[in-house]
């Protein structure tokens, strides 16, 4: 195979900035686009914003789990989304009560970062994990989980108002799919690529791919809450994201694997 595949390596600090800025800006951009044009077609931008935080979270899982935490990768993803759900509900609700509805995103983010840091401290100090990147990693994970939930919630509700989110995301139970899809988008990449020859680009591309899949799922939900047009746009965008990154992922897997064969017996050296 002579074809060259684009690979990359990103510093975790840079990635954190991209993830943070990308999703916050994306969520607000989606909000502005929706309110300026007076439609809800642009709700899919919220789902794209969530992809940034997914990449950020997947990288954090990668860093923390490389140390081996004894309970497998899934637990940390569930923790991330558990913290995220609480932070999102709190942020949106408190902002609404204080009359600053739009700042709910920021409040949720700040709360989740603090809470993630505290959990990291507990893990290291109380339980004696002594993993140097634990505080950092859990802060990242908590923030990423929160932003992912916010982005996809926006994609379903088309608004940042607490009442709208409660009405279209929580009462319908669609938060459940965001919870589990977002969780898998963050934890599946590292879990699926676990092994000594794991590479950062392949893992992160896998994360975006699962994110695209989640966007299809939120698009299905949006069919009901936002109507046919907005939902279909979202499904198409999600499918496009999924397809592009799935092909990229497949190429990266071909690049990294020792051999990709159509069929065959065991490798010749060990038969």
């Amino acid at each position: 195979m002579a074809e060259t595949v684009k690979g990359f390596k990103i510093d975790p600090k840079k990635l954190r900035i991209y993830g943070l800025v990308g999703s916050v800006v994306g969520i607000y951009l989606a909000y502005i686009l929706n309110s300026v044009t007076g439609t809800n077609i642009f709700s899919f931008v919220g789902a794209l914003a969530a992809l940034f935080s997914v990449v950020w979270g997947a990288n954090a899982v990668r860093r923390v789990c490389a140390y081996g935490i004894g309970t497998g990768v899934p637990s940390i993803g569930m923790l991330s989304l558990g913290m995220g759900v609480v932070a999102v509900l709190f942020g949106l609700s408190i902002a609404e009560q204080m009359g600053i509805g739009l700042l709910g995103v920021i409040i949720a983010l700040v709360y989740s970062l603090i809470f993630g840091y505290v959990v990291g401290l507990i893990a290291n100090r109380v339980m004696g994990f002594n993993i140097p990147v634990m505080e950092e990693g859990l802060t990242d994970l908590s923030g990423a989980g929160t932003l992912a939930i916010l982005g996809w919630s926006f994609a379903i509700s088309g608004s940042l108002g607490y009442a709208d989110i409660v009405h279209s995301v929580i009462n319908t139970g669609f938060l459940a799919i965001i919870f589990i899809c977002g969780g898998l988008a963050i934890l599946h990449p590292f879990n699926a690529n676990l092994g000594p020859d794991e590479t950062q680009d392949r893992t992160l591309i896998n994360g975006v791919m699962v994110g695209g899949l989640s966007t299809v799922a939120t698009g299905v939900c949006a069919l009901m809450t936002l109507g046919l047009a907005a939902g279909m746009v979202q499904i198409v965008v999600g499918f496009a994201v999924w397809y592009y990154f799935f092909v990229w992922f497949f190429r990266l897997a071909k690049r990294d694997a020792s051999a990709v064969v159509g069929t065959g017996l065991l490798p010749p050296t060990v038969q």
């Binding site: 589990i180 898998l184 699926a192 899949l213 694997a257």
Partner: protein
Amino acid sequence: MDAFGMGLVAAMGALATVAGASEDIDSDIGSQSNPNSQVQLAAQVGNPHRIYNKAIAGEPPSNALWCTTAAIMAYVLIEGYHMPLLFAAAAGASLAALFDGVMSVSAYLGRNASQARFNQWIYLDIIRYTTPSIMAHVWITSFCIVLIAIMQVYILTPHHPFPIPVIALVWGLTVGAIGSSVGDIHYGGEREFQWRLFGQGLNTMLSGQIVRKAEAGLRNSIDNAWFCAKFGGPATGMGFGLTVFLDNWRTTVFDPITQAGAAIAMGVFFVIVMNLYNFYCEVSARRKYGPYPGYKGDIAA
């Protein structure tokens, strides 16, 4: 208590049994969850293999994902487009199966590519003929669980207050937890290591030495489904069926408002019976199999 409610609870128990069985077989075909550790280890100790490696985040979260995906689709079709319940559940299950296919393929590619240094190849034909089989079982699982959720919310009285996706999420987590606790033992403890002495667990020294060859040719993952469908799958189904049936039976037979105490007492009774049954299993296994011959003498109390 009414006959209709009892019929529904019985139907839910039956659906749950089917869901549990197909969930376990799906995870056995994909070598998901715990036995996956041995499949993963096999290449590292010098045994590259042709067995599917579907590591999707442990069984409970992944099954929660399939069931929730099916549930949102069904919910959207029922509430938003007024489709019939059965059609909506079938459409939801189809979407869930597609999601599962994508995740399985990505996990197979990713895990095997990450083992390049152990000479573990990626076989495309395995993806082609094993993935549809996994997807089919996931379809059955999510279809049954969405139907259970629909029954609980729309038909069984009192209606459950949680929305369908949340119920499907919880049942998905539960069926995954049961599948990985029950059915996986049959695959991991027995099928993966058929060449070792019968009647004991896997000796730690033999870790990673999984069976790679079949009666003729190389073992593939469909063979594992053939084996595990005989006991591991049905036992898993039994576990999940008992959970769903007993839990709903007690609140259907006894009115939860006026006879709450009786419903709780009934549950406690089931729990005690199961404790005693397990004690019986322990005693009978100890009596029939006896101590291991290598043992050098009892320790004084």
